[in-house]
């Protein structure tokens, strides 16, 4: 799998993402700066990592979504390419219209820096192929604006079409209000595009991919991508 990581001014999680992708695929991802107008040929995956692109000016992700490289990323996605966005990357995807909804300030107004538990709602995708339906795993989160919002019709459509990738759950695997610390609609932590090739989520699976990090709970996502996108 050949992946590319997009780096915007203010991106700060690109090295964690690089480590996770390299660990799972054995290939070093290409790092691309936001000013590039085109993606290199032969990419299997484009990743928008976390951070605070453009200082979160206007709205989180709003400025990055207008940068030159995002036009190329949108074309890549429209042509059936796989795109993963984590945290600020998810916010950028939403602002760029790659995924539906919006991400509001956390309901508590607090920046949340802690582990959460995610339940896999849609296994079998390139992102979730190493998990079974209902599997739960730990993932660190670190965000101020991760409160997923969409109108009821959009939420019903996402659920009806199986496009909710992950939900925040408690230790028992239940999607309770207490487990939903940022206040997201229906405990949604991550969503998928209709073709299941674009996935965005707020928590950071890339930060648990080595025992030295405290666990490998997030590694299955990258192993799944490496496996699926080699075969493709």
């Amino acid at each position: 799998m050949q992946a590319a990581i997009i780096v915007f001014p203010g991106t700060n999680r690109e090295r964690d993402m690089r480590l996770a992708l390299k660990r799972a695929s054995g290939r070093d991802p290409v790092m691309l700066f936001h000013r590039e107008a085109a993606l290199p040929k032969g990419l299997d995956l484009v990743v928008l990592p976390g951070g605070f692109s453009y200082g979160d000016y206007l709205r989180c992700g709003a400025m990055a979504a207008q940068s030159p490289i995002m036009r190329a990323v949108k074309d890549f996605a429209a042509a059936g390419g796989h795109v993963l966005g984590v945290c600020n990357g998810f916010q950028i995807m939403i602002e760029a219209g790659l995924l539906p909804g919006g991400l509001l300030r956390n309901a508590t107004l607090r920046f949340l820096s802690m582990d959460c538990r995610l339940r896999v709602e849609r296994p079998g995708t390139a992102f979730t192929g190493h998990w079974q339906q209902g599997d739960c795993f730990r993932a660190p989160m670190a965000h101020g604006d991760g409160n997923y919002f969409a109108d009821d019709a959009t939420l019903d459509r996402l659920e009806g079409e199986g496009l909710v990738a992950f939900r925040y759950v408690d230790e028992a695997g239940e999607a309770t209000p207490a487990a939903n610390r940022n206040g997201s609609a229906r405990n949604i932590a991550g969503v998928l595009s209709p073709n299941l090739r674009v996935c965005g989520l707020m928590p950071h699976p890339e930060d648990l991919v080595d025992p030295l990090m405290g666990g490998i709970d997030g590694l299955p996502m990258f192993q799944s991508l490496a496996e699926r996108l080699v075969a493709a």
Partner: protein, 79 residues
């Protein structure tokens, strides 16, 4: 010609900032505040001299960038 763009959280969208401001006002002893909504104001200095066209341009800018119409509404005023 100047345009002022008011961007507000849409009706029905949770506004945690507004809620926090409301709580702080109550803490300061200001009673009688039923609800607070916090948005932003963006001023544009435009080359356009025709008010109708200036308003149209500012609205296009708001739809495309200044507001996220999934979660925010906007209103343009020519000043």
């Amino acid at each position: 010609m100047k345009a002022r763009v008011y961007v507000m959280p849409k009706a029905g969208v949770l506004d945690p900032q507004g809620k926090a401001i409301g709580n702080a006002l109550e803490g300061l002893g200001f009673g009688g505040v039923r609800d607070v909504r916090a948005g932003k104001v963006i001023e544009l200095d435009l080359l356009e001299t025709d008010p109708a066209r200036a308003k149209q341009a500012a609205e296009d800018m708001a739809r495309k960038l200044l507001a996220n119409t999934v979660i925010e509404s906007f209103r343009v005023e020519i000043i």
